[in-house]
Structures are given as structure tokens and as C-alpha cells.
Symmetry: C2
Subunit: 205 residues, 2 copies
């Protein structure tokens, strides 16, 4: 009973719930969320439709929880990836690369984040969205650190810089995700960093 309590927090979720989430993930590989029906989700999960509503408030909540799992996983990785890197610009470069790489290797995750959740008000109030905010904060911290140590100009608002970085990444990936085109982290990172770090104005005379 005591050890039961210990396990209580991380008790493995019931089989049905897992199957439902897996089912949606798999369907999202070929279809957009709006075109996936609850009947379809239940069927490929081998479960009844009603069970979805046992574990999720509604269809979008299911989507949010799927996204959330991805986010939890990737946030941990992101933190580790930045460890041991010296220099704010170097950190930003690494972060951009990892961001591209993550989208590149998990299209479903990219789809959800770039396309499927944005258009619903309640996403921005959701628990899931907090992870995204935490990530955005991380970027802001790096930028501010760079301003303090002199690596980064401090006459552009840090938040604007963050938005430039995120906006760039996401706009680049959006069309690629929509049309199923390849995302190449290496070249994209080089080009985007060149753009963000040095600007487009030709200063070579």
C-alpha cells in the first residue's frame, strides 16, 4: 500500500488510453486532424468511441495530450543538448539546429505544433501550451545572457530577437511540413544563423 502510493504518480495509464493516443499519432501521419473522425480513432485503436471521452474532455483535448507528451520528451532533451556549450550565439545555433532536427525527424509533432493547434483559442490557455512558453523563455534567457556578456546587441528588444528566431524557423518549416518536403537541419541552420546573426545588409564596403 505504501509502495502503491509511491507508484501512484507515475502509474502506467490504462491500455485503452495508450491505444487511443497511439491511434491518433498514427492517423496524423497521413491525415490532417480535422479530417480524422472520432469513429476512425476508436476503430484503429480497437476501442469504442465512448472510451475516448472517458480519458479526454473532447477531441481537441486528446490532440493536446498527444502534443504534450512530445513536448515533455523534447524539453528534457533540449535542456541536455545545451549543456556544456560556451557562448550565447553558439547556444542559439545549437538550439536552432535541434529545433530543425526535431521537426525533421518527427513530422507529426511538427504538424501538430505548426498547423493543428494554433487555430483554437483554448490551446493558448492549455496546460500543454505552458511547455511551449517554457521553451520560449529558455530562448529569451540565452538572448539576455548574450546581451549581458556583450555577444549580442542590446539595442533590439530581446523579445523581438526571440520572435525573429522562432518566426524564421517556423515559417521555413511550415511549407515543408504542409507539402511533405524534406527539412535539412544542417544547411537551414547555417543560413538562418547567418541571417539572424549578421543580417542581410551588405557591409563588405
Amino acid at each position: 500500500m505504501n509502495e502503491n502510493n509511491l507508484q501512484k504518480r507515475k502509474k502506467t495509464p490504462p491500455a485503452g488510453k495508450l491505444k487511443i493516443m497511439d491511434s491518433l499519432r498514427s492517423l496524423l501521419e497521413t491525415k490532417e486532424f480535422g479530417a480524422i473522425t472520432t469513429a476512425e480513432i476508436a476503430k484503429t485503436a480497437g476501442v469504442t468511441e465512448a472510451l475516448i471521452y472517458k480519458y479526454f474532455n473532447d477531441k481537441r483535448d486528446l490532440l493536446h495530450q498527444v502534443l504534450r507528451e512530445y513536448l515533455e520528451e523534447y524539453m528534457v532533451r533540449f535542456g541536455l543538448d545545451l549543456k556544456g556549450i560556451k557562448g550565447s550565439l553558439n547556444k542559439l545555433r545549437k538550439l536552432i539546429w535541434v529545433h530543425f532536427h526535431t521537426y525533421s525527424s518527427n513530422r507529426v509533432f511538427a504538424r501538430i505544433l505548426l498547423i493543428e493547434v494554433r487555430n483554437h483559442q483554448d490551446y493558448y490557455a492549455s496546460e500543454t501550451h505552458k511547455f511551449v512558453k517554457k521553451y520560449a523563455d529558455m530562448i529569451l534567457d540565452i538572448v539576455e545572457e548574450g546581451m549581458e556578456n556583450g555577444e549580442i546587441r542590446s539595442d533590439i528588444p530581446a523579445k523581438m530577437i526571440r520572435q525573429g528566431i522562432l518566426g524564421g524557423i517556423e515559417h521555413i518549416c511550415l511549407t515543408r511540413v504542409v507539402f511533405g518536403r524534406e527539412i535539412e537541419p544542417d544547411v537551414l541552420t547555417d543560413d538562418l544563423c547567418e541571417l539572424i546573426f549578421s543580417g542581410i545588409a551588405n557591409r563588405g564596403k
Copy 2:
């Protein structure tokens, strides 16, 4: 009859169609598209639901046509706004300002473009989307012109530069649109241009 032919192309659309489009525009001021029902649209238009399907293939087609009207209007304006400006960077600056200003003064337009259409495959194949592509081409032309005349570095792909600009603008506006916050073209343009033109790296030694 002959003069009838002349007018045929630009005949004013029937009252019902106009009322339906107005109705959606007005509803979009307070609600997201997904939460607006066809019944609601018809009711505020003072028209029956079936009439919507006389003039539009489906609910999304109505949305696309509303967006299209905005785009037609703004594209003309954009072309004029750039006339008489010397220098590619100056043109880009003006374009960015106008872009911000347009979103700032027409939130419904901004909403549709930033939030409501992206998540549907068929938008990217629609007639409406061609206007957006035309706009994107315009930016690309300016960038390439700048590369030729030496104002803009040519070691970053022009398309990457375009994506940086558009991505920056849209990411900046997205949160503001979602949360109904103000968009201030003047300061945003200054900051974004500084970022894009000169980069964030501190080069003052």
C-alpha cells in the same frame, strides 16, 4: 444587350451573397471560424442557410472568398505603396511597415491569414492562395534586385531571406492577434528591420 455583355464580367453580386460575406466578416470579429456555424452566418445575414451553398461550395470556400476580397484590395495598395521608393532595403522597410499596418488595422484579415486558413490542405491549392504567392514573389524580387545592386548579401539564399522576413512579421503578429493586443507598425518595423538588416551579433568590437 451589348452593353449588358460589357457589364457581365463585373456585375455586382446578388444582395444575398454580399450579406453572407458581410455576416462572416462581422462574426469573425469576435469568434473563431471553427466556432461559427452556418446557421449563425445565415441568421446574422438575414438569409436562409441553403443560400450559402448557392454561392459557395462549402463553409471554407466562403472563408476563402472573404479572404480573397481582402487580398485583392490589399495587393493593389501594396503595389502602389512601393512605387517611387529607391533602394531595395528601403523598399523592404516600407513593405514590412505596410504589412504590419494592414494587420494592425484589419484584425479579421489578420486572423484569417494567420490562423484560420493554414490548417486546411485545400487552402494551399486554392485560387485565394495564389494572391499570397504573388505577394511572396514580390518580396523575392526585391531581395534579388538588392543582391544584384550590391545592397544585399548574396551568400544567403534569397528565399531564406524572404522566409526570415515573413516569418518574423507573422510570428510577431500571431500572439498579438490571438490575444487581441495592439500591433504598432512604427516601432515593430524599426526593430524588425534592425534585426533583419544588421543582425544581432554585436560587431561594435
